[in-house]
């Protein structure tokens, strides 16, 4: 008995489990196929990740322009005003409430608004208009709308008003002209206000340009017989994504009858449009991932076919089918890892660049966006946990299932036959 002829020293890594080593090395028996599979995974994950980040960026811009432009991240109104829009359904003691709200967590700024309908007249021309009474200083901290007018300047003093471009055209009034506003006051009396046009705004949005007039809140309150009252409070919060949470927190402590609504609740048409668009995206992503999953199924069908004899030998020496399938699952996991690595290496920098630099919307778009919609002229990719994790995790499940399906036949593999198949 030639004991220990050359007892080679045990390698330091002998504690390393052999299954992952086998799985990893098996990948490199057919490099081309492995890279093709990993490339397909990278393609699916990279493309969907890129598209999702652009989508998120676009939605972010849409939400931002819908909320931070004018409507606010969170709105407060009386419930009966939401239901019936009656002028007398005002929130009382607005000054105190606004200060209180501004001290709540997550709230950055709050601006009160008086909303009245009236007839605006210049000489013998009269048009219906919405008269908005605002606290200009607070509005400027809350939304962007009041930062800029196309012509002239904002209405800062009682007796001043700014008018939408279409309304101004209809009334044939220019900066410096006089407008008379007539409406019904809170107690039913006639409300009248005469003001000088200090500016004309042009948003490109018909609702605004055609019917809106903005005047200092005190003047509108006085003309329409209101005290320290307002119809709507709009709030800017630290992160628009927290809109629902902040609204819920505010609702816990508000004067009776007053409710805070997230932008999703206040502007349902926008949140629904985004949901519909996102659903379309999900369908496309699902198809891409399905196609890639099928290519992985194909890879494993070939792998398993080629290694039938090896699996037969493994069965013969006492390895259970489940263990062999587990080994293939590890191989699938490594293919996924390689794919994720590739995706990060290729799509990662692109998305990062687009999230920092943004995507230039083009000459015409940027002009429209900048001057009329008050939108940024660049679309930025947005990366968050959802964008980062969704497609990789779905792809992981896809890859593991794709490897599992063909490997199920290993359970029926007869070692004798597999070994005979030379």
């Amino acid at each position: 008995m030639a004991e220990a002829v050359a007892a080679g020293d045990a390698p330091a890594d002998s504690a390393r489990p052999l299954m992952p080593a086998i799985a990893w090395r098996n990948l490199w028996r057919n490099r081309r196929r492995t890279w093709l599979s990993a490339g397909a995974v990278a393609f699916a994950v990279g493309l969907t990740g890129f598209a999702m980040s652009m989508q998120a960026g676009m939605y972010g811009t849409q939400i931002d322009s819908a909320t931070a432009f004018f409507a606010g991240h969170v709105q407060l109104k009386r419930q009966d005003y939401i239901d019936r829009s009656r002028f007398e359904h005002t929130i009382d003691d607005v000054t105190t409430l606004v200060r209180d709200l501004e001290s709540r967590p997550g709230v950055v700024a709050v601006a009160p608004r008086v909303e009245a309908f009236a007839l605006a007249s210049v000489d013998d021309r009269s048009f219906g208009a919405q008269v908005l009474g605002v606290d200009l200083e607070r509005e400027r901290r809350t939304v962007r709308f009041f930062n800029r007018v196309a012509e002239g300047r904002m209405a800062e003093q009682p007796g001043e008003v700014v008018v939408g471009s279409a309304l101004a055209r209809n009334l044939s009034v220019n900066v410096g002209g006089e407008v008379v506003v007539l409406g019904a006051g809170k107690e039913g009396g006639v409300a009248a206000m005469a003001a000088t046009v200090t500016g004309i705004f042009n948003t490109g949005m018909a609702d605004f340009d055609r019917s809106l007039m903005v005047a200092p809140m005190a003047a509108v309150q006085e003309a329409f017989g209101l005290g320290d009252e307002a119809h709507t409070l709009v709030a800017r919060i630290a992160d628009v994504d927290d809109s629902r949470e902040v609204a819920a927190a505010l609702n816990a402590d508000l004067p009776p009858g007053v409710v805070a609504r997230s932008w999703q609740a206040a502007l349902p048409e926008i949140s629904q449009a985004i949901e519909v668009d996102a659903l379309g995206g999900v369908l496309v992503y699902a198809i891409i991932m399905l196609v890639v999953a099928f290519s992985v199924v194909n890879t494993f069908i070939m792998t398993i076919f080629e290694r039938t004899q090896e699996f037969g030998m493994l069965r013969a020496i006492g390895m259970r089918p489940g263990t062999i399938m587990g080994m293939l699952q590890i191989e699938a996991f490594f293919i996924w890892l390689l794919g994720i690595g590739l995706a990060l290496a290729v799509a990662g920098p692109v998305v990062f660049w687009l999230s920092v630099q943004g995507f230039y919307l083009g000459e015409a778009m940027s002009e429209l966006a900048g001057q009329q919609l008050f939108l940024p002229d660049r679309l930025h990719a947005k990366v968050n946990a959802v964008v980062l994790l969704t497609s990789p995790l779905i792809m992981l499940a896809g890859v593991q299932i794709a490897a599992l399906i063909p490997s199920l036949r290993i359970r029926r593999l007869r070692a004798v036959l597999a070994l005979r198949a030379e």
């Binding site: 002829v5 007892a7 390698p11 013969a316």
Partner: protein
């Protein structure tokens, strides 16, 4: 011969074993009522013409296939009655296999191949490595421990397969034409090795072969023809 079915001295006890393959329309009677006993510590060569049923008998004893009739007991355990997973465990713990080819996992080194079977058995990593090194060394291929099968000659690969087969201390080593792919010089070395394992360590060996040289090294010769034992003699 027929009065002992289970006992310390008997590793394999086959009684009336038949196996018929029904693959095509014509049934093939690979084994027809074979009675065969194998004593612990024996070294038996199983020979006979091609198609005489050698591999079939080995596979039945090794629990890779099931008999249609008769009983097979390995180390006192009736193989017929075992479930698939019990058969897996029987192969893993009690039987060492050496095939003609495809013995080794191509992506593992010689040592890792030997360790792998111990990992399946749940042997601790440190002990695993130690026993693998020892097993390879005892077969004279200690210095090849870190080579992969593709970097080994046919004879060296068969030695690694034997190292793997015996490292688990099986009750029986089954070898189906282990020398079929080897030249005569290498075959002789392999046979000397098997004989030494049998003599020195008392490892029970059952090998199917066409090779007269193999028969010469065995202690007992069993000859099959048309699925029946036609000769059984001590060397």
């Amino acid at each position: 011969m027929s009065d002992v079915s289970v006992g310390n001295g008997v590793v394999v006890d086959c009684a009336g074993v038949s196996r018929t393959y029904q693959e095509d329309a014509v049934p093939v009677h690979a084994l027809r009522g074979v009675d065969f006993q194998f004593a612990r510590g024996d070294f038996v060569s199983l020979s006979g013409p091609s198609g005489s049923g050698k591999s079939t008998l080995l596979n039945l004893i090794g629990g890779l296939d099931r008999a249609d009739a008769g009983t097979i007991a390995v180390d006192g355990v009736a193989v017929n009655a075992l479930s698939e997973s019990e058969l897996s465990d029987l192969r893993l713990h009690k039987i060492g296999f050496v095939f003609q080819s495809y013995n080794l996992i191509p992506v593992l080194s010689a040592q890792e191949n030997v360790e792998f079977i111990m990992q399946l058995q749940g042997v601790a990593p440190g002990e695993r490595a130690e026993r693998a090194v020892e097993s390879l060394a005892s077969l004279g291929i200690g210095e090849l421990a870190h080579r992969r099968p593709g970097e080994l000659s046919g004879g060296q690969q068969q030695r690694v397969a034997i190292a793997r087969a015996i490292v688990t201390h099986p009750v029986l080593l089954l070898a189906d034409e282990p020398s079929a792919n080897l030249d005569s010089g290498t075959t002789e070395e392999l046979l000397k090795l098997l004989r030494r394992l049998n003599d020195d360590r008392g490892i029970s060996i059952l090998t199917a072969t066409h090779d007269p040289m193999v028969m010469g090294y065995a202690k007992r010769r069993v000859v099959l023809r048309d699925g029946a034992i036609v000769e059984d003699s001590a060397n």
